[in-house]
């Protein structure tokens, strides 16, 4: 059963319930989008799937290709093929972009497996070119002193290098200008295949217009208030979020 499945999930953080009876299935090759106001649980969902130990799972299950990932460490979940492009990527001073990506790629391999530095840099530079990034960028400290846009682009670079099967983009478009959104969207579109599924979390329609996701969901108070296709985005633009409050949606 190849899919990322969330079943009746109930989650709290610091005693506050942020997701309740939440279900979603993302099949291979599908792209889903989440829209919703601030504080409706979008980022929480992303972090719970990633295994953030600050969240408490009260009920339900998360399955990756049929296997429950609840209780697994974040690095185990990542190595199963899950990637989260963070809304606020963390600064790691003194660790270069290239060394970090290399460490992450090596972590997926068995300890003794050969790893060619030459091939690594070839691939890295090729992908940086797709993202219109200067080579010198790879030797900068990860996210340290990066502009908002550089951080987001760097998240996409990491994803392209790690080739996950499931990826969540948490407001990757915020901080990107119109041109940068185009570059990122075309890079993500290039990754679309039967082996890649994605969930796009966003406030804006700009990125979605270029990605054309298969499904669009509107979140309200920890639940999906409405699901549909890209038309939903257009309705949202017209009527606003309040139109889709729980129980009143399309």
């Amino acid at each position: 059963m190849k899919a990322l499945e969330i079943k009746h999930l109930k989650v709290s953080i610091c005693g506050k319930v942020v997701l309740e009876d939440f279900s979603l299935r993302i099949a291979p090759g599908e792209m889903h989008a989440f829209l919703g106001k601030n504080g409706v649980g979008k980022t929480s969902l992303a972090k719970v799937i990633a295994g953030d130990p600050n969240y408490e799972i009260l009920d339900g299950d998360i399955l990756m290709d049929g296997e429950s990932i609840i209780g697994k460490r974040p690095d185990e979940i990542a190595r199963l093929g899950f990637f989260l492009a963070f809304q606020n990527p963390v600064e790691i001073p003194g660790v270069s972009v290239a060394n970090f990506i290399r460490a992450a790629m090596r972590a997926k391999l068995p300890k003794e497996a050969p790893f060619s530095a030459v091939d690594f840099y070839k691939e890295l530079y090729a992908k940086m070119e797709i993202l219109h990034m200067d080579r010198a960028f790879s030797s900068r400290s990860l996210n340290d002193g990066f502009s908002g846009g550089e951080k987001k682009r760097c998240e996409i670079l990491q994803m392209m290098m790690l080739e996950p099967r499931y990826a969540i983009f948490d407001e990757t478009d915020s901080g990107l200008d119109v041109d940068a959104i185009k570059i990122v969207a075309s890079a993500v579109n290039n990754m679309r295949s039967e082996n890649f599924s994605a969930l796009i979390i966003t406030h804006h329609s700009k990125l979605l217009e270029q990605l054309r996701p298969d499904f669009v969901h509107i979140l309200s108070a920890g639940k999906i208030a409405a699901s549909g296709s890209m038309e939903l985005v257009e309705n949202l633009e017209k009527f606003g979020y309040d139109f889709f409050r729980e129980g009143e949606g399309a």
């Binding site: 130990p53 460490r73 060394n99 460490a103 972590a107 997926k108 840099y121």
Partner: protein, 477 residues
């Protein structure tokens, strides 16, 4: 270009990992010379007899012992561990051959194997201009590339230095660190054995480093090497030292004195990678004098030992002299790294730069203790000090004791300090990329000290990264 460098780094890293796993071993040695347990004037005579000391050295030792008896432990050493050190239970001199061999083939097999396991002969072949290897009290091996000898470079052990080159040796010996400086410099004066004597003649620039390696093999023993480095006008040298010991149940003492004299326009770089086992008391006095426009750089890395007390110092004696003291301290569980720096400005236009980074794991305690002194009558002096501490666990500790004494209105001093923690967010972010927690922690720690690690010669920076990875993984496990 960049590809082959990375590959080389990787390879060096892998080789080193092997050698480090093998640092905790010892061999059984029947010592020909053994001064026995405890310290007295008889011990001194035993050492002087064994080493065939000149009369002035014998007298020097006895006087130093008196000084040792008179002197109290430094008041600021508040740590109970150091006060518990029982000097009457230590063995002060253990040796077999007194003259080092100049070929590894002639070094006794056990000792040769020790240094082979530590990778010394291999490093010598690859990138060193000369190597000395001390095993307990004496050098087992000492050799320098022939062409340097022809240029007049001297690289021998301290005994040979004082016997064969008395004019230079006597002129500088004890002038930088007087016996009376502190209790441990007095102790070293009394029982010193081993250590390097280096002289670089005027205008000679030694491109590759000279390396000394200090190995303690015996239990409840004290190693007291004494190093004197004199770099003549316009000359240049890099001296590196490494140290290890196997783990013992009882305490071991290492109390060295290092004196560096940099004459006009010379450049000296002194690199230490200290990785003693966790029962070694490492109480070392290191000091350098920089004459006119000379440049001195201490690069000091302390990873091992139970307690380290060490503050490399630079006396900026000549106009325009420059001093730099870069230090990294890693305090793991139960360790105390009391390290720091001293920059004493004694002439106009002198500059000093101090950068100290420490990482504390578990119950480790890392302190920075420093002195910067610029008196009233000087002009155009500058000091920049930066101390950063990283705490890994909630029980980790750090402290900073900077003493800055600056007078006059034509001097500039800058002091910055920071304390940070490895954050949960950092670890989660790295784990999300598939990197296990321990490795994420060590990436973060290595990142923190990265800018300083770069100052080390490549072979050493690889070693240090690996050592720090090992400490981190231990701390997280």
């Amino acid at each position: 270009m960049i590809f082959s460098e990375r590959a080389k780094e990787r390879e060096a890293m892998d080789n080193f990992q092997q050698s480090m796993d093998e640092a905790n071993f010892r061999c059984d040695v029947d010592y020909k010379y053994d001064a026995g347990v405890g310290l007295s004037h008889q011990t001194i005579d035993y050492i002087s007899d064994a080493k065939n000391d000149a009369d002035w050295i014998r007298k020097f030792r006895h006087a130093a012992l008196e000084k040792f008896y008179e002197t109290q432990l430094p008041k600021w050493v508040t740590n109970a561990d150091v006060h518990s050190l029982d000097f009457s239970r230590i063995r002060y001199y253990l040796a077999n051959d007194r003259a080092p061999k100049t070929s590894w083939e002639n070094v006794s097999p056990d000792i040769k194997e020790t240094f082979e396991r530590l990778g010394i002969p291999e490093k010598e072949r690859k990138f060193l201009a000369g190597v000395e290897a001390q095993f307990d009290s004496e050098f087992a091996y000492s050799r320098m590339r022939e062409e340097l000898g022809k240029q007049g470079v001297i690289f021998v052990d301290s005994a040979e230095g004082l016997n064969k080159f008395p004019e230079i040796f006597r002129r500088f010996f004890g002038t930088v660190v007087p016996v009376s400086d502190n209790k441990f410099s007095a102790l070293n004066g009394a029982v010193f054995s081993g250590g390097s004597f280096v002289y670089i003649p005027r205008g000679v620039r030694v491109k590759q480093p000279l390396q000394a390696y200090f190995r303690i093999n015996a239990e409840n023993f004290g190693q007291f090497e004494r190093t004197l480095i004199v770099v003549d006008e316009e000359a240049e040298v890099t001296y590196m030292e490494g140290c290890t010991a196997p783990k013992f149940e009882t305490s071991t003492l290492h109390s060295a004195v290092v004196e560096v004299v940099a004459l006009k326009n010379s450049k000296v770089q002194y690199v230490t990678v200290q990785n003693w086992s966790s029962n070694v008391f490492n109480l070392v006095t290191k000091r350098a004098v920089a004459h006119e426009c000379a440049e001195i750089k201490w690069i000091d890395c302390n990873i091992g030992s139970r307690v380290t007390v060490k503050y490399p110092a630079i006396y900026l004696k000549g106009k325009g002299a420059k001093g730099e003291i870069l230090s990294i301290a890693v305090a793991s569980d139960g360790q105390i790294q009391d390290t720091g720096a001293k920059a004493i400005h004694l002439a106009d236009g002198t500059t000093s730069n101090i950068v100290s980074k420490s990482v504390s794991f578990q119950t480790g305690m890392a302190s920075y203790r420093g002195i910067v002194s610029i008196p009233n009558h000087l002009k155009g002096c500058k000091n920049n000090t930066r101390c950063d501490a990283l705490l890994v666990n909630p029980t980790s500790r750090t402290a900073t004791f900077p003493k800055i004494s600056v007078a006059g209105n034509e001097n500039i001093v800058q002091h910055e300090a920071s304390v940070s923690r490895v954050s949960e967010e950092q670890i989660f972010y790295m784990q999300q990329r598939g990197i296990p927690e321990a490795q994420a922690m060590s990436l973060s720690v290595n990142g923190f000290i990265n800018d300083l690690v770069r100052e080390f010669p490549m072979e050493y920076s690889v070693e240090m990264k690996r050592l720090i990875e090992m400490q981190t993984e231990k701390a997280v496990a």
